[in-house]
Symmetry: D4
Subunit: 253 residues, 8 copies
């Protein structure tokens, strides 16, 4: 029941065309989407300019292709995470200007490449091996209208590589700290900046990293304040969270 | 070495009172706090009005008392987390206007109770049992200059309790979702708002909650976007993170 | 907004006392509880005769007492799980006819003790040590209007103790299999009956039971069909689930 | 020893053809299947019309083929779970009307496709990626004589997608909630319905879902009542459990 | 239905006092204990001279007392594991000659202290801290009719302490290796002897022993052959297993 | 230093050809293998007729081939576990009468196929999927001189399949219970027999079996007495342990 | 068999008082301690001046007291770890000059307090809460003859506190990095020094530190080189390891 | 900012060419690398003759090739761990004298093969299956200037194989104990030597070794003193740690 239907119902009540009891029954069963939640969704799209994201694993190539096609009809931007080359190929057949970021395993569409992006997000990746995850975060941010600053190979075992970036770190609105192994970068960065830090653990590591669990636990237990954590290898999640935070600086209170 | 000392050193060099070699030795060994990091700390204190926080477990009551006393000499606000009544008693003996929040197990000092607090943070706690953790977050926020809005008993098993708060949720700059058991509140809230959500798992639950692990994992795996997670029962961490985010809305880009 | 309020609003629209736009605004923001979910809740109460259950851990004794008092004003039956003696004492002070089941750690109220209970649920507990959890399930069932049949000490290491109960097992509508240690009772029972089996793991056991984890995993991996599992030591959860299933046999399709 | 053999033995005793001591020895060693358990099995088959299910992993293609062939000789319906295409090919060579459901990885036979199916089970799957597991549940239900109603893509991050299905949810006898990631769907559904809910966690998710562990734990810890959980990705188990429950509604007390 | 009842039934059939159909009904429902399993139990008691063991945790002191009393009426020996002093006190009040082994936390009764015990079991405990668990195993063995040889403080960090016991180790029929921490004793002993070794992990250890998990995993993964493992701190289980093995050497093939 | 060398040394001392101090130095440094441990090994080989076993994973095909060749020169029997087809091919090229058991992934040699084997070990496997692991145990037993009795598909969900084997179970000296999923077979068998039971968990199962962890934990926590457990899928270990136990029945005390 | 016994045996052989065969039998069975391992122990004591350490948990107060008394008769130094006040009281009654370090929970004896200690070990503790564990390491080192340099409260969230200690860090022979929570101190220190670093995780932390597991995993996965890890809270182990390393610098190659 | 730049700055201040305020600004922002950390790095390279190591997983073949090329321009030695054959091929194309160790999966360069290596490190590997990890440690040591002594197949199940190496073990400065399965070698070796022992767990093992977790936990919980542990399969880490320790013996205090 959209605005129009609701208005029509009330008009029928107002003009006596509809009994009050009937109207009450209709109102009790109306889908919530139509009076409240759809408005919310619309609100979100207007404000962030970003539609739903497609989580590709477990979907057939055809399913991905159709979902992407429909999203591309309603939005100038689309993002599909963890997409296989086969899923991309099927999707590109229906949406020819779709693009693929191989190392981030993301399919994406940007039909307004000239629109200005908002600076304020710094992505610090501990090592080159963490780059694919960092790139997923960066791509997410760009599609959401932000201009991330990416610095790589600044692991804590060589503080001299991180510290030259101190001015940039301190100027950021929000920092994403990407690290596998022991994930200590989040704590060190957290101690150097006053802005919010999003810790992004990766599955990079030797045996007892247990697929990123070591970095995840370390980041959750950081002795530095102002840190929150997203899932292992979830570059999209970190990028999205950073975008919502950076957006606040531009919207104001 | 603070600004004054550094300036004095350079002036001594400039006036020939100090040899260059001696100055170089002094500069090489000067504590970084005094040229760079102290500035940062000072910067942080000036901006956030908040000194270091005391993590009380494992410290003797005397150690806590002395640390709190020294912090209270330099700052109008002090926060000690996970403080036992014994630690509070010892600290209050040295700092008589210190206060204690029994359910949040926090000792705190606020010598400027009239200063204005910034609204924008909403704390949603799933159940009454999650209240102590939510209160730790709220206390942290208030000491950092923010005015949290706390709503309790809005667990997902009764959506009708959560949904009346939808306008407040959608108006917030940042939401803290506090929940134990299965931690689903974070996902539901994340789907309802466009602002950043900080998920705060608690150790409330039956057997296989494993001390909050179930809620922690659920929140890390949320299907909603724009969520990041802090440690189990870490109300302080969630409050601090929320404060740094809400601050951005007031500072602007 | 309850039925009355909604009806009044529509009448004001019907009589022109309220503008359609105003009515739409009111309808858009009305709490969902009042048009839809409250009906559901009411429906549930009418049908099951059972109000919300109080999860007591983490609540103060005063909080429990007030919650129980309010529930007791609206319902002839109340159940509080994992209640401490202190919580019970405080609650009984406000609700004198409240009762306490010490081994099941439950506080409960039943003001209609003569109403007939529905048979059909069999609770099989592997050992005497599992009895407190089994009793929590039995109490829950009785408060929800069912008459559980409880058999104890029928662990799989002595099949001769279980098998005499075979006729009762095969006559049940639903069976709750309660076991700690290796939790094998669920599988053996599952192989003997055709009705649904609810597996209820307990934390009874030696070292590597890991607080019930061994039984929980065993039950989830049962080679028998028609089994589903609730949380460790969650007698309430198993009893509630069994009640909803047994109810179906009485309601019919 | 079947009914006939037993009767013959007793007749031999009655007619003095068999000594009492010999008869006692025979009775002491008679296979239990022949006096009790076989009856049970027969009972089950008569009532549910469903033979044993073949768990295919770890079996050779030839083993699967022979087992299926023998089951197909005694029953119009066969189900093999987690079957590989190779296992299906070998089995189809011996049982030509055998069918294969590729995404659910199930081989199945239905020789009475026109028989009426019983409605009452609703399967709600959080996302398209959860569909294969949901389909395994649906196939199991259909083979057991039930007509599941499947709704997909109703994850909790978009409540507006779930809520239009509220009437169907509230009309169901039993609901299967299928979800990976944080598995919150079970809790939200559990709060909306009064019937039993079977929670079916899937292994869909990013890093720290740990192969479905996050969803499994979340579902076990649900704050909603009336929920029980089956193994990760175990669509067959959920379907079977739902069938036994729905059957109750048709059998009556 | 015991031998007598069964014989009487058959005699009634033989004399025509009982109809065949009635006899069949009776036979179908007779408790298995009475025709098959009770025989087994009787067999076991005759052979091992050992009744059921009482697992005390989770039972009330009264329950323990009554169970012990009944067992003591039928057997000259009783064993209760993990008994608290309160449980013992209650039990001793009903069974005055009951005894308590404080460090092994076992209550026990032995009314035939002069009967000869069978040698052949060697218990090797790594350290003095493992002694309580080793003593639980030794007590179990003695009550079951065996004479264990206990050597203590033979951890692998001091091979010179273990090796003097080599002749005794090599003469044993079965060895129980008791160790906490890294549990390496099982592997070293397993490499020195040709007889079966029962590995008994204890919860003795620093932080990452995780309550005995480290020793348990180590023992399960032993590079030596001829080792099997019982639960953490389960001295009773190891003693019982060793008794069944040592018994074989006396029974012969 | 073998017997000959030791005798020669002592003779040189006896004849004054060697100084006592020199002899003491030689004795202090002599490899323990030569006076004690080699004797032990020899003892073991004489008694059990079984040389060392080759654990093949992580070894190159050439390494396996050479090790097998050398063992085959000194023993009529060889066993290599977890061998790949490549490792077998390389080994067979050097040892042409070597054989391969594909499903048990074992390479083996038996040059005395007519020697009599000792009965007494019963292997009970819960399902056909557990067969490869059961066969590894059976092969190990046969090479060690024992004649295992293997029964398959006797899972606890169908007790009627297990119980006909009760006489064989009760006649065995030792039983190996092989099961994946919830591993309940060990408990049920343990309750039916008085002899030692070796529990052998397998990795067969759905999601939350976690590679056999569920069965392993269940078996460790068995409520039946007289059970000890070997590593997941370690058919060799279970077979070896059973052989050492069965041997005792033939050796006597 | 000590040196004297061995010499006597050989002399009896040399003088014909002992047959060679008898001597061989004696030599084959002589305890290894007496010819080889005791020498090793003696060697160790001479070189390190440190006897065995008493691990106190699980021992009775009397057992501890006697063990300490005997060690104190043979050595001027004794160390007992994880000692309770009761254990200390009992031990001090027998050994009056025994001392107790309450926060490190260690009992210790040093009868040569003036002997010179070797510098070279730096202990860096992240926070005041880690101090008890650091003190256990320091005490161990002092008793072993080393003079540790302890710096506290140098966690990575405040690099400005750690960096002033850089010269001391770089001058050390070996560094012990003590930290709970996320354990990042080990990595940061490891990146700043070229000497070996012993990482010592503590159980200090909020919920998901899981008793020190987070710090342990982080330290094992450190991206810095030259780090090895000891058990959680195992200050003794870290101190002992550091002593063996520092000793090398004084012994030379 | 290196020494020269810093001196020049101070000279400009001394000569009035630079304002004090400008100098202060420059000093505040100077990269730390330039006054302290770069010197450290240089120091390390001079002393150890070893540049940074390349962790290859997650890097593209091209990235590895370029990094190796640049390192090879500044150092006669390069080490890349966990390198795939593809990464090696790409790197060798740019650096033709690069070599590959297939079983250790390491690419390496040594342009000064004749330089003398320092003895003192003994590597003891439990089994042939542990050899690849041991070889990674050995290669690391050689590239760092040390001459490891490698002994293989000395697992604790056959002490007679280990003990002949006792003199070599006792002569070593540092021992690396490499073992999978139950990892007991570390404890046995730790009890035999007085020097530091580095425990190196491997992922070799059956089911419940959980990828090396069993060995890792066992080593962390060793009852022997003087042991520290590196990550699972981390031969590089163990070799590096051993090199830093052995270096101390040559440098002296």
């Amino acid at each position: 029941m959209n605005e129009e239907t609701l208005r029509a119902l009330l008009e029928r009540v107002a003009t006596g065309q509809e009994e009050i009891d009937q109207a009450m029954a209709a109102l009790r069963t109306l889908p919530f989407e139509d009076i409240g939640f759809a408005r919310l969704d619309h609100h979100r799209t207007l404000r962030w300019g970003f539609p739903e994201v497609v989580f590709c694993p477990g979907k057939t190539a055809d399913q991905v292709a159709v979902i992407v096609q429909r999203l591309a009809q309603r939005s100038p931007r689309v993002l599909g995470t963890r997409a296989s080359p086969e899923q991309f190929a099927a999707a590109q057949a229906l949406t020819p200007d779709l693009q693929y970021h191989a190392s981030a395993r993301a399919l994406w569409l940007e039909r307004e490449p000239e629109r200005p992006l908002k600076p304020g997000v710094l992505i610090a990746a501990a090592g080159t091996s963490d780059l694919p995850v960092a790139e997923e975060a960066a791509l997410t941010l760009r599609l959401m209208g932000h201009a991330p600053h990416l610095v790589v190979d600044v692991g804590v075992a060589g503080l001299h590589r991180l510290l030259p970036h101190l001015p940039a770190l301190q100027a950021a609105h929000v920092v994403i700290a990407v690290a596998g192994m022991e994930g200590a970068l989040a704590s060190v960065v957290g101690g150097l900046v006053a802005c919010p830090v999003i810790a992004l653990p990766t599955s990079v590591g030797y045996g007892a990293s247990f697929g990123g669990l070591a970095a995840l636990l370390a980041m959750l237990n950081s002795c530095a304040s102002g840190i929150a954590v997203v899932n292992i290898d979830n570059g999209f999640g970190a990028g999205y969270m950073a975008a919502t935070i950076n957006e606040l600086a531009y919207r104001g209170a």
